[in-house]
C-alpha cells in the first residue's frame, strides 16, 4: 500500500511538472535565425550578448558550425521579425532566413517562394576575395539572391565561386556586382570602401588592389 502511494505521488508530481513546463513554454514565442557562419566563440557569444538586451530572453542556443541561432521570448511582448533582424545586424552579423513560431501557433518567416528558372543552366567560376566561413555564407547568399541564379558555392581555399544561372535572366557581371555590394572584391568588380569596412572583423581579407 505504502509503495502504491509513493508511485502515485511520483506520477502526480511528474504530471504537474510537465503541465507547468508546457504552460511556461505556451507563453513564449520561439525565434530561429540563420546567421552568416559564426566563425569563433567570441563572435557567437557576442551575438548572444547583444540579444540579452531583450530582457526576458531565454533558451538561447547557437550552433557555430551552421550559424543557427534560436531563443524564446515572452509572447505578451512579441518581437517583430524586423526587430530580430536589426539586432543581428547591430551585433555585426548578416541574418539569412528567420522564423518566428508564436505561442498561438502563428508562423512568421522571411522565406520567399523559389524562382522559376530555365532548366538549361550556364555554369561559371568567378574569383571572389574573402577569407573564412562567414565570408562563404555572405558571398553565397549575395550570389543566390540574384534573379536567375540557381546555385552558388564558394571555396574558401581557392576563393572561386562556382555559380549556375539562367543566362536569359542574368550574367557573370551581375553576380560579381552582388558579391562586391556585400564587401567582396571580384576580378571584375571592386567593392566600395564602405562595403569593405562594413565586413565583420573575421572577414577583413587582404585586398589585392
Amino acid at each position: 500500500m505504502k509503495q502504491i502511494t509513493i508511485i502515485l505521488s511520483i506520477v502526480i508530481g511528474l504530471f504537474a511538472f510537465a503541465q507547468a513546463d508546457a504552460q511556461s513554454k505556451k507563453g513564449r514565442d520561439t525565434y530561429e535565425v540563420q546567421v552568416d557562419g559564426l566563425g569563433c566563440p567570441f563572435c557567437a557569444y557576442g551575438l548572444e550578448k547583444k540579444f540579452k538586451e531583450f530582457k526576458g530572453i531565454k533558451d538561447i542556443a547557437i550552433d557555430i558550425e551552421t550559424g543557427d541561432f534560436s531563443f524564446s521570448y515572452p509572447a505578451d511582448k512579441p518581437l517583430s521579425l524586423e526587430q530580430v533582424l536589426t539586432q543581428v545586424e547591430k551585433a555585426g552579423y548578416t541574418p539569412n532566413e528567420a522564423k518566428i513560431s508564436r505561442a498561438d501557433g502563428e508562423i512568421v518567416t522571411t522565406k520567399t517562394a523559389g524562382k522559376l528558372l530555365n532548366t538549361d543552366l550556364a555554369t561559371s567560376k568567378l574569383y571572389v576575395n574573402g577569407m573564412c566561413g562567414m565570408c562563404k555564407a555572405r558571398i553565397e547568399k549575395a550570389a543566390g539572391t540574384v534573379d536567375g541564379v540557381a546555385s552558388a558555392l564558394w571555396d574558401v581555399d581557392t576563393k572561386m565561386l562556382t555559380v549556375s544561372f539562367d543566362a536569359t535572366q542574368t550574367d557573370e557581371k551581375a553576380i560579381e556586382k552582388a558579391a562586391a555590394a556585400v564587401g567582396h572584391d571580384t576580378k571584375g568588380v571592386t567593392a566600395s570602401d564602405k562595403a569593405y569596412d562594413n565586413l565583420h572583423p573575421c572577414c577583413k581579407y587582404e585586398r589585392e588592389i
Binding site: 566563425g39 569563433c40 566563440p41 557569444y45 557576442g46 572583423p201 573575421c202
Partner: protein
C-alpha cells in the same frame, strides 16, 4: 733527464684535463616541439587553459563552467554558474574583491575568470566566488593576466587592454590597425617589461610597454586568421592561429621559429610548462599535447 720527465708528465696532465672538460661539457642540441598526443575531453569546449601544479583548468565557454581535468582528460571537478568564461589565469595580487555584500583585499592565490557574458572578472578560491572591484566598466572581457600585483584585461568590444600597474589603471590602445592599435583583443599576458596581446582580428600579436605604447607587432606577415590566444615564456611567444589550425612560435626578437599543425583544429589557447605544451582545440573538445625534444638527425 728528471726535468724532462716532469715536463712530459705536466703535458699529459693538461691533455687529460682538457679531455675530461670536453667530455663533461655537453654540446647544446637544438630542440623543437614535437606532437605527442590528443587528449579527448568529453562534453567540454575549452577556450582558456591555466595550470596549477599538475592540475589543468579549462574554461568551458559553451557550458558556462570551469573544469579541472587530469592529464588523461578525465574531469576531476566542475564549477558552474559562470557566464561565458574565457581565458583564465592563476595569480595572487593584493587587489580589492567583493562578494557583492562586502569588500576585502585578496591575500591568497586564486583563479581569475573573465566572464564575457557578464562583463566581470570572477575570483575563485575553492568553492568561494568573489569579483574584482573595477572602477571602469568592461564590455566582453576575453582574457586576464596577473603578474605580481599587476593586472591586465583584454576588453574585447572597446578594442583595448585595461592595465593596472599596482597603483593606477590605464587604458591601452584604440581601435585600428596601426602599431599601438587593436582590433578585438582576445588574450593578454604581462611579463617583466611588457604586455603581450593577441590582437585577434588584426591577425597578429602585439607588444606594448607598461606605459601603453605599442613597441612591436608579431607575426603580422604570417597570414594568420584570428589570433585568438597567446602565451609568453623566457624563450618564446606562442600564438594560436584559430581559423588555420596552427600554433606559431616566435623567438623573443619576434622571428618565427616553428609552426605546429599536427592535431590542431580551431585552437583558442596555448599553455607551456617546462618541456610540455598544451593546446585547446575548442570545437573538437580536445587538448593537444606537444613535447620539447632534441632534434634527431636522421642521417646519423
Amino acid at each position: 733527464m728528471k726535468e724532462k720527465f716532469k715536463m712530459k708528465n705536466y703535458l699529459y696532465m693538461i691533455v687529460a684535463a682538457a679531455a675530461i672538460i670536453s667530455c663533461t661539457e655537453k654540446e647544446a642540441v637544438p630542440q623543437e616541439w614535437q606532437f605527442e598526443e590528443i587528449i579527448q575531453i568529453e562534453g567540454v569546449n575549452p577556450i582558456g587553459i591555466a595550470m596549477d601544479g599538475n592540475d589543468i583548468f579549462l574554461s568551458d565557454g559553451d557550458h558556462n563552467r570551469i573544469v579541472k581535468v587530469d592529464s588523461t582528460g578525465a574531469i576531476l571537478l566542475e564549477m558552474d554558474g559562470f557566464q561565458r568564461p574565457m581565458h583564465i589565469e592563476f595569480g595572487e595580487p593584493d587587489f580589492e574583491i567583493t562578494d557583492k555584500v562586502s569588500k576585502s583585499i585578496l591575500k591568497e592565490r586564486a583563479l581569475f575568470v573573465p566572464e564575457y557574458g557578464r562583463d566581470s572578472i570572477a575570483v575563485m578560491r575553492g568553492n568561494k566566488l568573489d569579483y574584482l572591484v573595477l572602477q571602469d566598466s568592461l564590455d566582453a572581457p576575453a582574457a586576464i593576466s596577473v603578474y605580481n600585483n599587476e593586472i591586465a584585461i583584454a576588453d574585447f568590444y572597446p578594442n583595448r587592454v585595461l592595465y593596472y600597474d599596482g597603483k593606477n589603471w590605464i587604458s591601452i590602445a584604440t581601435e585600428g590597425k596601426e602599431l599601438g592599435q587593436l582590433y578585438y583583443p582576445t588574450d593578454v599576458q604581462i611579463t617583466e617589461k611588457h604586455i603581450f596581446v593577441a590582437d585577434a582580428y588584426n591577425h597578429r600579436g602585439q607588444v606594448f610597454d607598461k606605459r601603453g605604447n605599442g613597441v612591436a607587432l608579431i607575426g603580422d606577415d604570417q597570414k594568420m586568421n584570428a589570433a585568438t590566444g597567446l602565451f609568453v615564456n623566457d624563450n618564446a611567444v606562442y600564438i594560436t592561429d584559430f581559423e588555420n589550425g596552427r600554433i606559431l612560435i616566435f623567438d623573443l626578437e619576434y622571428h618565427l621559429k616553428q609552426i605546429l599543425e599536427t592535431g590542431i583544429d580551431k585552437p583558442t589557447d596555448v599553455y607551456v610548462e617546462d618541456q610540455v605544451m598544451y593546446i585547446t582545440n575548442y570545437r573538437k573538445g580536445q587538448l593537444v599535447k606537444y613535447l620539447l625534444k632534441d632534434i634527431v638527425d636522421e642521417k646519423l
